[in-house]
């Protein structure tokens, strides 16, 4: 019986490799290539068109000297933190409520989920309208006789970002709720029974037993929310345009404005590079742990 040698490696799984070409191309050419290009040009003083006039770290110096950028970062931090926390908490609470074998579950779920079907532009417009002090909530409450009632988050620089938050949460919690609901449904019935026999109150069961068991869902939810937060742009544009003043600017808008409004591509690229850097610092180690390295974990 003859011994045969291992055939060439590359053509094993050939179909899979061919099928993955679009993904590989996207990953390498668009995401890696595009990013590298952006980083490279962030060291130039490109204006309207990209040019290779390198100016070192000038763009970054100016970026960090810009009040607008600092405010953008702060806003993103505030918006991000609150959005993450509230979306997870509210999403989970709603899912937990819906999981109580209630009637009309479908109806409630659809109501909570439908905003996700609408674009940020629509969301922003709708909430701008409701929060408008001359027509919306404030006007209505004043109309009822509470003359001194003030509720104008979109027109008060100190709290404008929370006004945006209201709309943002309205938009995304439905999806998070769906994820959480899916997760809750995946929990073994016996765990609930065991907790009841042990006499653990429902809320403690959620807090100490169920939530820790839903790690996977929370990871997916955080990916979804966080990738949305970093990209938040449309909502701001539709709702406040970055105002009043520059009090609701966000990094994505800073990038956009720098690139297209000020026609200072270099500055825009520098700002996007900073955004990327922070994403990479946070996401890459996590993504590696979560998706790379390890073998299939089914």
């Amino acid at each position: 019986m003859a011994v045969t040698a291992r055939p060439a490696r590359w053509h094993r799984n050939l179909s899979a490799k061919i099928a993955a070409i679009p993904m590989i191309a996207t990953a390498l050419v668009v995401f890696v290539g595009g990013t590298a290009w952006t980083v490279l040009y962030s060291f130039t003083n490109s204006k309207l068109l990209p040019r290779q006039k390198f100016v070192g770290l000038d763009q970054y110096e100016r970026l960090w000297g810009s009040a607008k950028w600092i405010i953008s970062i702060q806003n993103l931090a505030i918006y991000g933190a609150f959005s993450l926390v509230f979306a997870l908490v509210v999403g989970f609470l709603l899912a937990a409520l819906l999981d109580q074998k209630i009637r009309f579950e479908d109806t409630f779920r659809t109501i909570f989920l439908y905003p996700f079907a609408l674009s940020f532009i629509v969301t922003g417009l709708a909430w701008q309208w409701i929060l408008n002090p001359d027509f919306g909530v404030q006007a209505v409450v004043r109309g009822m006789g509470f003359e001194s009632f003030t509720f104008d988050p979109l027109y008060n620089p100190d709290i404008v970002i929370y006004g945006v938050l209201i709309a943002g949460l309205w938009h995304e919690t439905g999806l998070i709720m769906c994820l959480m609901l899916a997760g809750l449904r995946g929990i073994d019935e016996d765990i609930w029974k065991a907790a009841r026999v042990d006499g653990i109150p429902v809320w403690k069961t959620y807090l100490f037993i169920v939530i820790p068991m839903m790690r996977g869902i929370f990871v997916t939810a955080v990916v979804l929310i966080a990738s949305g937060i970093i990209k938040v742009y449309d909502l701001i544009v539709a709702q406040t345009g970055g105002g009043p003043g520059i009090s609701s600017e966000v990094p994505a808008k800073y990038v956009y404005d720098a690139m297209f409004l000020s026609q200072n591509l270099g500055q825009g690229f520098a700002a996007s590079t900073m955004m990327l850097l922070s994403v990479i610092i946070v996401v890459v180690p996590w993504a590696y742990l979560e998706f790379g390295g390890k073998a299939r974990r089914v």
Partner: protein, 362 residues
């Protein structure tokens, strides 16, 4: 003294009646096994006793107290689940102490109880591990531990061994039995594995379709099943059922098995009159049959070997007896080959006779 009493329990899921006016009394310290095929309502009954299901009708007493409307935690029960339902993110120790902490048991008392439970179950070295780092058998012990620390009178087990492989199952069975002998608590144990039921139980309740078919000691159920269902369900390899018809009466009565084969009924302890011409099912377990190559003195029938399954200590021999197929358990030392002609002798003391129409034991 009665430890658990179920009175006229009825449970419906919507319009589906899963348990029908069921009555059950379990005395203190008894090990009762609920045995039955899947879907017969065993878990449902257990959950009712535990208070995890809201019953539709009837009453439940535990230690003399009416607990029909009590919360599970107030019923004085501990429960072990099929999937163990350990809290995955907590260490073994935390799993054991969590319920106690919430109940406000003092710290040193908790420590004492955990020490005792982990001593009994020999899980001291595991206390700092997470459930995912335990083997199946270890998880099972922790699950029992969680019931143990609650210091209750009644333990409920819902198929606690069915997720384990055969070997481990055999070992843990023994451990459970020992545990019961040490603790002397009342235990109610759900399973659909008759070996578990036979080895563990003081009494077995065989259930089917939400009804208890027979409630008795293991060997009684094994040797004198009240109906065809119980007879077929208990015992592995299972009882041979040979349909036939009664000929003659009194001491002359025989069971005609067709093709000229018949078995004299002399020696069979009938529970009632055995009418001439009655259609019956003659049931006999593989181990109550003897196979010999030569005709024996007693009443025997000729058969042909079809297949031999060696099982280590003994073998299962499949025979063709006229129109019937049947299996016989023999010592491994008896060498038989397919095609061999043999004689089968029946042990009538251990045989069962069922009315073919009512399926009840005669």
């Amino acid at each position: 003294m009665t430890s658990v009493s179920v009175r006229d329990l009825t449970l419906k899921f919507g319009s589906l009646e899963v348990l029908r006016t069921l009555n059950l009394d379990i005395s203190e310290g008894e090990f009762l096994v609920l045995l039955g095929p899947s879907g017969c309502g065993k878990s449902t009954l257990l959950n009712c006793i535990a208070g995890l299901l809201d019953i539709s009708d009837g009453q439940i007493f535990i230690s003399g107290k009416n607990v029909t409307w009590e919360e599970p935690k107030d019923r004085g029960i501990g429960m072990v689940f099929q999937s163990y339902a350990l809290y995955p993110q907590m260490t073994v120790e935390k799993n054991l102490s969590f319920g106690l902490q919430i109940a406000g048991v003092p710290k040193d008392e908790i420590a004492r109880r955990i020490a005792r439970a982990s001593e009994i179950l020999q899980i001291q070295p595991l206390l700092k591990r997470k459930p995912s780092q335990l083997s199946g058998g270890q998880r099972q012990r922790v699950a029992i531990g969680r019931a143990l620390v609650r210091d209750v009178d009644v333990f409920l087990f819902d198929e606690p061994l069915s997720n384990l492989d055969a070997k481990l199952r055999a070992e843990l069975r023994v451990e459970l039995k020992r545990l019961h002998q040490n603790l002397k608590n009342t235990m109610i144990y759900v399973t659909h594995d008759q070996i578990e039921a036979l080895t563990l139980a003081d009494r077995i309740a065989v259930m089917k379709g939400g009804i208890i078919q027979q409630l008795d000691e293991p060997l009684t159920i094994y040797n004198r099943p009240v109906n065809l269902f119980v007879a077929g369900f208990i015992g592995s390899p299972s009882m041979n059922f040979l349909p036939g018809r009664i000929i003659g009466t009194g001491d002359q009565a025989r069971v005609d098995l067709g093709q000229g084969l018949s078995v004299p009924l002399a020696g069979y302890e009938a529970g009632g009159p055995v009418g001439d011409g009655l259609d019956v099912v003659f049931g006999v377990r593989p181990e109550h049959l003897t196979v010999t190559r030569e005709p024996t003195s007693g009443p025997s029938l000729p058969a042909v070997v079809e297949l031999v399954e060696p099982m280590g200590a003994d073998s299962l021999v499949w025979l063709r007896l006229g129109p019937h197929a049947m299996s016989v358990r023999t010592e491994s030392t008896v060498k038989l080959l397919p095609g061999d002609a043999v004689n089968v002798t029946f042990d009538l003391h251990h045989a069962s006779l069922f009315d073919a129409s009512t399926e009840e034991r005669i």
